[in-house]
């Protein structure tokens, strides 16, 4: 009898599942007004002014608007600001706000109109280090009085500063100086004026970042420290309202029907689910539970040959993030140190890396298109004549090398020259000593001061990075011969910047670098001697000069000419080895391409405003066709 009870219970379970499946079957139709997306890293807080990862950007860009945004062609168009102008030398910018924008709470109830004062208060919020972390360094020196105000507050709060050095309190007094000293003013209810410390022709590209968002001071003061911790602790003026946020689970955004541009918004609901298990997203997409999915290198290989799904595999646009390799000019490894200072060796390395095979790990098809030979991204910076920055003379030539930078014979030639210069012919490396090299807390190895050159390549602990490291090792040892070069692989486990780059515990490594605003200075300015992303700590005075000269020019084409020269210097001297662009991953999606806003940086590119969804997944043919139409239109716009 108990056996039969056992059987009965099992049968019941199976029946339950089947019934549920049958009833559930009909319900899973694909909707064209709901976007079902995913995210993998959780946000810790939704304070709109600090969004270090894409998840936060995805949410905030849709619920809070800024002064301007980009349209689907990537041009700046009005958002909360109807129109704007600047003075002759680009140092004072005035924005006229639209009069019908309002703040709403998480239930969709109207709270207050959006006024110019909100933009002043937004800057005020960001400038107070106690309220939030932020990407201040970009704008600190750009807006008049901001740096002083910010630093004064920091000094005031610093417990370690001697009382005599501290500014006079109380804090409220210092806070009150904001209105008089900082260069952002509300001229009237609907006019905002920004005063800059120097001419900045590309100021608009700052305005799409999260630092320039408005803030309703009354509300954020009332929330206190809870501001941004839950949907009801935020106000919304964007196309969507954050209806619910279940931590580690999902975000739900619903269209705000009272939005001033509501007729341009066709996606009515956005659900972003947290999925840590990458393998599950493709399955879910196939079953209609997700609007789109990205594909890893292995998955692309497989699905392209799949009879049913092969035609839906499409390639995304490249992003403005660039990856490059850098080497350590101050390495504790004395063998490498000698070689690094030698230009022939650096060029040998430049020509020895088979970037195509390495990148095939991630992109088995169209790999060459993903490679980049320059530091600043293509398709982002245009001069006043519509010419792309990367098409300027020295860079254009570098770009056209394509994948041909991989030239083993040439690499060996350079390497032999280097050997002649830094070794004494008997295998002893000049200036290198035998001994123990310690890199970091737990990694050390022995060097003997002779060939083979021991080169430490640093990599992360994910399986892709480990595979990539193996490939690089085989690649370089084959080109140079393992009697000349030995690649030592070192894995870091903590944080790349803190454990590897800052202390200099590496010889060769790579990283990805984002592009902060629409001018080459955003990257080149950080690559000068002691620059923020000059991870190799090289020093090239000519480069520094060219960059300084370029930054002073006001005419964009003059700037670009000088910057292009500087960048070419860096690449042709082997100081930096550009590798590939970010983005450009494969995926399958039901999102109609080129309908959502486009852009290389900032928040606009994450907006769903204007996005169209289709019931069937987009096929590669459809994508190509739409792409052609899009670029044709883009060129017409740029020409006309």
């Amino acid at each position: 009898m108990k056996k039969s009870i056992f059987r009965a219970v099992c049968l019941a379970l199976v029946l339950l599942l089947t019934v549920a499946a049958l009833t559930g079957c009909g319900a899973s139709s694909v909707s064209t007004t709901e976007y079902l997306g995913t995210y993998s890293t959780d946000v810790t807080s939704l304070i709109p002014f600090y969004l270090p990862d894409t998840t936060g950007k995805k949410v905030i860009s849709n619920v809070i608007d800024g002064l301007i945004e980009t349209d689907r062609f990537g041009s700046f168009v009005p958002s909360l600001a109807e129109s704007w102008e600047h003075n002759a030398d680009y140092s004072v910018w005035t924005f006229h706000l639209r009069k019908d924008a309002k703040w709403y709470d998480s239930k969709g109830k109207e709270v207050a109109p959006v006024t110019a004062q909100d933009f002043v208060d937004g800057m005020r919020f960001v400038a107070d280090h106690k309220k939030t972390k932020s990407d201040m360094s970009i704008i600190k020196s750009v807006i008049v009085g901001l740096e002083d105000y910010y630093d004064t507050l920091v000094d005031f709060d610093d417990p370690n500063l001697a009382a005599s050095k501290k500014p006079e309190g109380p804090r409220e007094t210092i806070e009150a100086t904001f209105d008089d000293t900082v260069g952002v003013k509300a001229l009237d209810d609907y006019t905002v004026e920004y005063t800059l410390t120097a001419p900045v022709p590309y100021f608009e590209s700052f305005l799409v970042t999260e630092i320039f968002l408005p803030n309703h001071k009354e509300f954020s003061d009332a929330c206190g420290t809870k501001f941004g911790t839950a949907p009801d602790q935020l106000l919304y003026c964007g196309a969507y309202i954050l209806q619910s946020w279940q931590r580690n689970k999902e975000f739900v955004l619903v269209k705000n029907d009272n939005y001033y541009d509501a007729d341009k918004v066709s996606v009515k609901k956005i659900v972003l689910q947290k999925i840590t298990d990458g393998a599950a997203t493709v399955e879910m997409f196939k079953r209609g539970e997700l609007t789109g999915t990205s594909l890893t290198g292995d998955q692309v290989e497989y699905y392209k040959q799949d009879a049913e799904w092969g035609k839906y595999v499409t390639l995304r646009d490249k992003s403005s993030v660039n990856y490059w390799f850098f080497m350590n000019f101050e390495s504790p490894n004395t063998e490498f140190n000698t070689f690094a200072q030698n230009e022939n060796f650096r060029l040998a390395l430049y020509h020895a890396l088979d970037r195509v095979t390495i990148a095939q790990l991630y992109n088995p098809y169209d790999t060459e298109e993903m490679l980049t030979n320059v530091i600043c991204p293509e398709d982002v910076c245009y001069d006043e004549n519509g010419v792309d920055y990367t098409d300027y003379a020295p860079l254009k030539e570098i770009k056209e090398r394509g994948a041909g930078t991989y030239d083993p014979a040439l690499a060996k030639e350079y390497f032999d020259k280097a050997l002649a210069e830094v070794t004494d012919g008997n295998g002893n490396i000049n200036g290198a000593q035998a001994g123990e090299v310690k890199m970091g807390r737990t990694f050390s190895f022995q060097t003997d001061g002779k060939l083979p050159l021991q080169l430490v390549y640093i990599h992360g602990s994910s399986s892709d990075e480990v595979s990539m490291a193996q490939i690089i090792k085989m690649n370089l040892e084959e080109v140079f011969g393992s009697e000349n070069v030995e690649i030592v692989l070192s894995q870091f486990t903590g944080d790349k910047y803190n454990d590897v780059i800052a202390p200099g515990n590496f010889d060769l490594g790579y990283d990805n670098y984002s592009f902060k605003y629409a001018d080459p200075l955003s990257q080149l300015g950080r690559l000068v001697t002691d620059g923020a992303v000059n991870d190799g700590h090289y020093s090239l005075p000519e480069f520094d000069d060219l960059v300084a000269q370029g930054s002073e020019k006001l005419v964009v084409s003059e700037r670009y000419a000088l910057f292009a020269q500087a960048e070419a210097l860096l690449i042709n001297g082997g100081y930096i080895i550009p590798w590939e662009s970010g983005g450009g991953t494969y995926g399958m999606t039901r999102e109609v391409p080129f309908t959502a806003p486009r852009g290389g940086f900032g928040l606009s590119r994450f907006k769903y405003k204007g996005m169209q969804l289709s019931e069937e997944p987009i096929s590669a043919e459809q994508y190509d066709q739409l792409e052609q139409e899009f670029y044709a239109e883009l060129n017409r716009k740029n020409a006309g």
Binding site: K2, F6, L17, A21, G24, D151, N248, K274, E283
Partner: protein, 314 residues
Amino acid sequence: MAKYIFKRTLQSLLSVFIVVFVVFLLLRLMPTDGYFTRDDYQNMSEAERQMYLVEIGAVGNPIKLFGEFMGKLFRGDLGESYVLQPHRAIADILAEKIPYSLAFGTVSMVLSLILGLLMGMAMAKGKGKWPDALGTGYVVIVRAVPSLIYLFLLQIAITGLFHIPMMFSERNPVTWILPTVSLSLSSIAWYAIWLRRFMVDEENRDYVKFARSKGMTDWKLMKRHVLRNALVPLAQYFPLQMLLTISGSLVIESLYSIPGMGGLLVEAIQEMDNSLVQVLVILYSALGVLGVFLGDILMVLLDPRIRLTDKKEG
């Protein structure tokens, strides 16, 4: 009895206190630069970084900090998380997550008890024949093969076969079934083996033979006598198991995307959210201690032969 309870409570509190203190010190051994990213180094000056570290309690006199922490705890204030969910009360975070783990855990415990005992009975009855072999096969696979593997394969197979969504979703009750069943698989094996062994042992006991000779059916025999005796030693672990379901299963919760307590501790340690880690450690150790304690008391209530205050230390 009261004296015993008092003594035990004191001992338990002491253990929990020591545990928390040790973990507190261990956390202070973690490097503080792990709190900052590359951009943070660019945007924040040394002074700002120091102020941030002080605010989250990562630097400072450990003894003093510990004292403050315990003081707040006694007043019922669990504090705020600083890194994982900044400015959010830990009590809120827990209140949000515990219900999921508790619900799944309790239901799966009941399910595994029922199924496990049934399976155990079937195995004992059919000893040496196919039910026993099948049951043993099941038990071996579940205990020997790493759970990640069969749970993952099960998820793919069942959701594919029955067209159920892969991820847990509160709005869709169908998605509640598979995680619960998966969670109970291992316990079913445990209960089945326990009951089988117990029943085989009891077969030769006098009271069983006597009841049989009086004409009692097997089923009634199981229900009235054997099962009750089998449950008593098991009962010792029930309170502990129930309380520990709060800690959630990391594997199941991450496979099905359930926002429960499972991954919280690991994430909190990795992100070095000290205040959250401390509260969680206190919570789990307190639950552990309480569970054992309740289990002992339950045993005494169920089996009159057991005395807790036995003079013989044994």
